[in-house]
Symmetry: C3
Subunit: 137 residues, 3 copies
């Protein structure tokens, strides 16, 4: 049994957009009781991550760390066609990843209490991002 949906998620520039509810909705509609849910973003300048869903300061601090992992406008970059945030976005996307899996049990996502699923936009400008949700079991 499997189900697949492509979500369009509008971001408002660099930062986190929680998509836990949207993903959970696809899982409920799939009829899968035990299996896996894959979430995949079809771009290379944003990423997906699971992190704490309570204190928003966690996400602000993740941006602080990401600015060290792959800074904007680094003079060592050769790829800067789309601006200072172009290569920084690709670097962060590689580190955080564009694909994640959450187990499904009893027909729902088996996330921990404090875990949320986030689309992490790494470009300064807002974009509409395609997110593929696939459930198999």
């Amino acid at each position: 049994m499997s189900a697949q949906t492509i979500l369009s998620i509008a971001t408002r520039g660099r930062g986190f957009t929680e998509i836990t509810d949207e993903v959970a909705h696809v899982v409920r509609g799939s009829g899968v009781r035990v299996g896996l849910c894959n979430v995949f973003v079809r771009h290379t300048s944003c990423s997906l991550t699971i992190t704490e869903n309570a204190d928003p300061a966690v996400r602000r601090d993740l941006e602080t760390l990401a600015a060290r992992w792959a800074p904007d406008g680094d003079p060592a970059y050769r790829h800067a066609d789309e601006g200072d945030d172009d290569m920084a976005a690709h670097g962060r996307s590689v580190l955080s990843g564009v694909s994640l899996q959450v187990p499904v049990g009893d027909g729902r996502l088996l996330l921990g209490t404090w875990q949320g699923v986030y689309l992490w936009e790494h470009r300064h400008a807002g974009h509409t991002r395609q997110v593929v949700v696939t459930v198999i079991g």
Copy 2:
């Protein structure tokens, strides 16, 4: 065909706990011959990783690197409710990831000779961590 088990793994504070045998045991019991095994940790201050299982110095050096990737007690952090290691743990968890997949072939994990599956605790204190193992095929 699918199987799912939730393991409780007690960590002894920051560091690596190998769980390859526990995961392999679930795979053997599943009856799946060809498929995928997902391992997922239901927390945001630890992570899962696959790394070398031979020289323990590799894991010590990974801690050395992680202390640069997301240092304890960084003055830039705003989130420090649970101490100096709180935000460092979230940052490391995002980098290493909370979900991993290993292919199953001929009824067993298709890990390479030198690959081990590790639960990586990022908090200083030991915790009991819930690890969901799902096998589908």
Copy 3:
């Protein structure tokens, strides 16, 4: 339904080898219409990643970043049995990851236009790397 193939990929030392076509070929042969494709590399000193497939400067810049994330020959490393690039390779492998999933829809990989699947060699010398491709649906 599932299919599994082990590819042997020869690398030419540190850098990226695109394997999108090889993975897509396994997907086409599998007969799976909707599902997941897992790609897994059975080593701990290389990794897999999805990144931009257009401008090769992106991959050069990723090497520049990786040299900061896990530098060669760092004096803090204790593990250096196989040379200056040994521990650097393990560190980069943990960050980039050895396993990735791409959704399959309508019988093909649902990659975005600019996404390529890459084997990322982190050792200076070329190696033959085993890559397991598993398709389930």
